[in-house]
Structure formats: structure tokens, C-alpha cells
Symmetry: C2
Subunit: 419 residues, 2 copies
């Protein structure tokens, strides 16, 4: 195949390690200059391709690209934007091919979750239909850990570590003070559909009775009576109770807990809430216990300072593998993590067809959820524990982590038509 340029883009919610995948892609492409010209990166994800806003990564120094490995967020901009189906409206796909042709792009690397893998698959199908030769490779990324066919998703291990460490630390705080102060602490974490992140908080447990005492997963319908009984018995036994709740925790009828209060502000608007304050208020109202709550929100998925070394390594390896797949002539595939051993933890790179990855969500299996629904099983622990292993401390200067910011210089536009 003659030498061509590559397109890379970050899609959807960013993570502490998505830039490590970018680093893997760009460094590996630079090692194969005979086959890959420039890596052109979409400014704000796929929108960069549609708008012909293509960042020229060759303008960045080796040092800057190397620094991506330890920089959180999306260094080139990401976006929440789902392409229409080419059957419904082929204009976006035609536009993408126009841009790719104009810039001699014949490698397409798309770094994202389920929707993004679907997009990569459609780009592959469409380019084949249009007889435009292009290798389309997906690179997995999602803090939610909800992609199928890969043992885990880059981004998850680091948020898991953040949540486990934060739970352990906050629990020590609450335990110190519970005799005269807060009895119940509620931490809200991400996970609208799947409870992987909340489940990872269980890695804070070392001995029986350690926090978190209750984990509320979206996979388990919320039962208020059982929940309150467990809070009560935990406080009686331990003096305090730590609850970790997924933002997607819901009642059996599907209603989210965060919506359930029905509270209005002074202007009559629905309370924006969050599920942690809702749960905390429930504990206060029904049990009369003093509470505190925290909502980690973006802090958890951006927390590069407490990233899992395993996660960083896998994110990088998947970026590298994506380029190697493309150079091997593969298309419409995604490199995956294949676990070969739990303990010691061993993994290798595998391969999945995009058509089998796209739009499939992986929930916590029943065998991972404890009988009472408020915790995880030893099997889940065996799965989760290796993913947070290892520290990859960023470099610090004057007390702050050193995160790179790129030049992000775009190549000149070649198309007369704007999108």
C-alpha cells in the first residue's frame, strides 16, 4: 500500500488515559514513516473531520507526544456527536470521504466507546462501498467499562483506582469521627447503566466489615426498606456506614433515584439533585442519622494523578496495536485486552470485529453481584483487583503535576466547501 496519512480522533467522554492511547498511535505511526505519513487529528473528535479542522501532530515534539502518556483529558478535543446512519443520510459520510481524500488519509483510528465503534464500523463499510481504500480501526475507551469482547476498557482501571482509594480515605475520616459526628457517608460515582465503577469501590475492603458497606448498582433495583435496614445494622455494628452509589441507581420501575425526590427549587424547576444527596436525605428522614455526601463527577475520570499503571500501559498498548493492525492490512476491527491469568495478572492484545462491538453494552454479570445485592462476589474481586495495580505518578513541578498542552496547529484546508 502506498504511503498515506492517518486520521485519529477522540470521541465521547474523556478519561485519565485516552491521551496515552493517542501517544501509542502517534509514536507507533512515527516508527513507520515509510508507510504512514502524518497523523492528522480531528479537532474535537469526528467534528474535526467534518469541519476539515485537522491538527498536524507532526508539529509536536517527541517530548510533547511522550507527555500525552501522563496527561488526562482529551488533548485534541473530543465531542459528543453521533453520525447519522449512511442509509438515512449519507451526506456526512460523503463529506468524511471528501476530507479524507483531500488529505490522502487512508488510516482511520477512532478512540471511543460503543457509539464510536459503531461509527468506525460504518466508515469502514461506507468507504468499501465507495471503493475508497481505508483501514478503519477502533480503539476502546470508556470509564464505564461497558464494551463487550474486551476484558476491560482503558479509562476504567484508573477511575476504579480513584474510587477505591477515595472510598478508603473517606472511610478512615468517617470512622474517626462517628462517635460524635457523621454516621453515614454517601459517595456518588459515575455509571448510568452499568455498575462497574461503583463495584470497584469494594477494592477498598481489606478486612471483613471494611467500607464500603453498601454499594448501589444500576443492575440491582433499589429497595428502600432493605437499604435502610442495612444502613441501620451497619451503624449499630460498626458505628458508621459508607455507601457508594452509581449515578444510575434506580427503582424497580426504572425511575432513577436522582429523579425520585420530585423536589423543586424556588422557581419551580426540578431539583438537579444527584443521587448522593437524595440517598443522604433518605437516611436523615427515615433514620435520623447525621450524614455527609460527595459527588466525584469529572474529578474521578480526570484523576491522572492516581491513575492505574496497568490502565496506562493498556491504553498505550491499544493505541500501538491499532496502528500495527492497520499496517497488517486489517480493517473494521478493534484491538482488545485478553486476560490470560488473574494472579499473577497477565494479559495480551486480542482482536474483535467492530460489527460485534458496536452498540453492545456490557453490564455486571449476576455472578459478580453479592446475594443481598449490596456488594460484590469474590469472583468480581478477582476480576477487578488487577485493573488498579501499579502506580504511574506523573512528574511534578512546584507541587503540581506536569501535564502537556499541545500546539494543536491545523493543516491548511483543501476543500472549497465548508461543512
Amino acid at each position: 500500500m502506498p504511503k498515506a496519512n492517518a486520521f485519529y480522533a477522540q470521541s465521547g467522554g474523556v478519561t485519565a488515559v485516552i491521551n496515552a492511547s493517542a501517544c501509542g498511535v502517534i509514536q507507533t505511526a512515527r516508527e513507520h514513516r515509510d508507510q504512514i505519513g502524518k497523523v492528522l487529528v480531528g479537532h474535537n473528535g469526528i467534528l474535526g473531520a467534518l469541519n476539515e479542522e485537522l491538527i498536524d501532530s507532526s508539529k509536536e515534539t517527541q517530548r510533547a507526544i511522550g507527555g500525552l502518556r501522563s496527561t488526562p483529558g482529551g488533548a485534541f478535543g473530543s465531542c459528543r456527536y453521533k453520525l447519522k446512519s449512511p442509509e438515512d443520510d449519507p451526506r456526512e459520510f460523503h463529506r468524511l470521504l471528501d476530507v479524507f481524500k483531500a488529505h490522502n488519509i487512508r488510516y482511520f483510528f477512532y478512540n471511543g466507546g460503543g457509539d464510536s465503534q459503531d461509527t468506525a464500523n460504518k466508515v469502514s463499510q461506507f468507504s468499501r462501498k465507495m471503493k475508497y481504500p481505508m483501514q478503519c480501526i477502533g480503539i476502546p475507551k470508556t470509564v464505564d467499562n461497558d464494551l463487550p469482547l474486551t476484558d476491560c476498557c482503558p479509562g476504567f482501571g484508573s477511575v476504579a483506582k480513584y474510587v477505591a482509594v477515595s472510598t478508603k480515605e473517606a472511610a478512615l475520616d468517617v470512622a474517626s469521627m462517628c462517635a460524635t459526628s457523621t454516621k453515614v457517608f454517601v459517595l456518588e460515582v459515575m455509571g448510568r447503566h452499568a455498575g462497574w465503577i461503583a463495584a470497584a469501590s469494594a477494592l477498598a475492603q481489606q478486612d471483613a466489615g471494611d467500607a464500603p458497606h453498601i454499594i448501589l448498582l444500576p443492575e440491582v433495583p433499589f429497595r428502600q426498606r432493605e437499604f435502610l435496614a442495612k444502613v441501620k445494622s451497619t451503624v449499630k455494628q460498626r458505628g458508621y456506614c459508607v455507601v457508594v452509589v452509581s449515578e444510575g441507581a434506580r427503582y424497580a420501575n426504572g425511575q432513577f433515584l436522582g429523579e425520585a425526590g420530585g423536589a423543586k427549587d424556588a422557581f419551580g424547576h426540578a431539583q438537579l439533585g444527584g443521587v448522593a444527596p437524595t440517598i443522604a436525605q433518605m437516611v436523615k428522614d427515615k433514620l435520623g442519622m447525621k450524614f455527609h455526601w460527595a459527588v466525584a463527577d469529572y474529578l474521578q475520570r480526570a484523576a491522572r494523578h492516581i491513575a492505574s499503571a496497568t490502565d496506562v500501559e493498556q491504553a498505550y498498548a491499544l493505541g500501538r496495536a491499532a496502528v500495527e493492525f492497520a499496517l497488517d492490512g486489517k480493517t473494521a476491527v478493534m484491538p482488545t485486552i485478553v486476560r490470560t491469568s488473574d494472579s499473577p495478572y497477565r494479559w495480551k492484545i486480542g482482536e474483535a470485529k467492530l460489527s460485534r462491538v458496536a452498540n453492545v453494552e456490557k453490564f455486571m454479570p449476576k455472578s459478580f453481584i453479592s446475594k443481598d445485592g449490596f456488594g460484590i462476589t469474590p469472583r468480581a474481586r478477582r476480576y477487578l483487583a488487577p485493573l488498579i495495580e501499579g502506580e504511574d505518578h506523573p512528574r511534578y513541578e512546584r507541587g503540581m503535576p506536569v501535564y502537556v498542552s499541545l500546539k494543536n496547529q491545523q493543516v491548511p484546508k483543501k476543500l472549497a466547501v465548508k461543512w
Copy 2:
């Protein structure tokens, strides 16, 4: 002075480094076994003295005591409990002296904030009045950094580092996504009366225009119009806006922002709120911008994993100095941090009378707050920057920080009377 035992207790909200002070006290006392017998530690702070629940720290190994230096929370239990004044009700003070006499305690180390220094001072006065020889030394501690006469308070540097790092990381996340997603991110941090913690978020700024773009301090009355105008102009200019708000932010009439919504839940109870969601909702209602918010709560003050090495070192040094002060025959004093140079940062241990520390709160001086009230001055930056310097990563095992838990074995009670 004949050999006697020491009493040590942790008081009020715990921090990431209060145990480092405990480590300093106990290790230094162990170096002076000729003068100090056992360090008996109050179980749950001063309540441990009242209830004669005295933890025998001599039962702990050197390794366990050493581990306190890198363990957050209060390893012996802390409490929120303010002694009555001996003039109003001397019974508690008589009880304390009874317990101290029974256990041959003639050193009193009390590790806490303004209230605790007041208590230490009163214990000193009362014991003198009762002609019971006792060295009473306060050890400063408060994440709020609101004690006078010391350059800073142990606990603050670490929460400052946590907040600065978290702000920087979350800002990178928001910046990546702002073209199509969240425009305004609000982080709520501690600080009910003084804005030191929120101010420290400014250390995330490296270049002009960096986040946080707006800091809301309790010292500056909240003006909605100016705030919204600044959010709007920041989003216009930068594409996004990061706001860090003190939990104690308030209107000119003194009403807390967190109370202002007046929202009720379905049961008619006042919304527990938090100021971050209130601010976020205001942005949504008035500017129609997509928002996210986080409430760090206990996570910030427990975050030993991102502690400031400067803070850990000072916390330890103050514990050590307290014992040395006592051995020098001092009483009714508190060791302090005296800054001798900003850059390079240099400090030494000083000394303040408890009577001058007790019940005085140190707010952000006007010269530290920017003219528009939404940021800090270069002078504030010079003050704050050294406090977060240095990393003191805890040891990790299987991906989790190793925090010690003590035996906390109590000495047998000697008094017939229970409290």
C-alpha cells in the same frame, strides 16, 4: 521533673496529616523515656479522657507508629465536643484532672483547631489553679487554615494540593468537551468562614486564562449579576468556565448560597443542597448553559494519596516540637510555623501563647483577594504556592495505599466512678 505519662488527643475534623503529628508526638516521646513514660491517647479525642478510655500507644510497634505518618483520618478517633467553661461548670475539668492524676499524666497534648487550643488553654489554667503540675501544649491542625499566629495550619497544604490538582484535571476534561458538551463546571470545596481552600485552587493556573476562572470566597459577598456576567464572558472567550466555590459562599445579607434556593423535597423538607448544585442551577436558569458539578466533601481532607510533602513534614515537626516544648518546661503554648522566606521556601518552628490563639479565626486578608473578588492576587499566590510543594506518596500494595490501623488497646481503668 519526675517521670510522668503524657496524654495526647485529636480533636475536631480530621485531616490527611493529623496522624503525622501524632507520629511526631509519640516518636519524640519514645526518644525521651527517661522523662516521659507512656503516651496515653484519648479514644475519640477529649472524650477518651472524660470516659477514662485511654489508648496505650506503647502497645504499638515502631513500624505501626511510623505508618501513622502516611495514614489519613484520626487513628485514635476524634470528636466534635467542646468542653464547658470551668467558670460555668467545673465538673468536666475536675473529671479530667481526676483521670490525669489516676494515670500519672502530667503532659497534655491537644491536636486541633481554634476551639481545641482554647480547651488546652483552659486545662492549663485549671490545673495551675488546682496546683496540679501539667505542661499543656496545643498542636495546630485545621484544613481551614484559620488559626492565627502560625503561617499555616497542618492539613491545609494537603487539601490545597488536592483542590489545585483536582481543579486542573477537571478543567482539562471540560476543555476537551466544551465544544459539544459541558460549558460550566462547578467544584464545591470546604471553608465555611474562610476561603483559603477555594483560593488554593488558583494554584492550578499556569498561564493567563487557565482555570479556575472564578473563585467564590466567603469573604466576598456574592453578587449574582457580576458572577453571571463573568461566566458568560469566560465561556465566550475560552469556550468553558470552571468555578470553584467555598461551601461558605454567601450573599451580602449573610445568607449562605447553599440555603438560598429554598427548595423542598417531596416531603416538604428543606433541600440539603450544597452550594455547587445551587450555582450550577443558576447558570442553567439564567444563561442556559450545560453544566456539571462536583462536591469533594471528605474526599478533599482525607486525600493522603496526594498530600503535600511540605504539609506532612510540618505536621510531623509540630508534633515533635510540642513534646520538646513540654520537656523544656513550657505550658499554655502552641508550636507554630514561621515562614522565613517565600522563594526558596524556608520555615522554622515558632511559639504562640494559647491565650492568643484560642477562638481567633484568620480570614483571607483583603490584599490576597483580586480586585473583582473572583480570584487571588500575586501576593496570595506567593503565600500559597510553597504549601503544596513536594509529594509524599504513600506506599502501595496491590494498587492500594497502605494505611496502618492500630491495635488501640486501652489501659485498665483506675477510677471507680464512670463519667
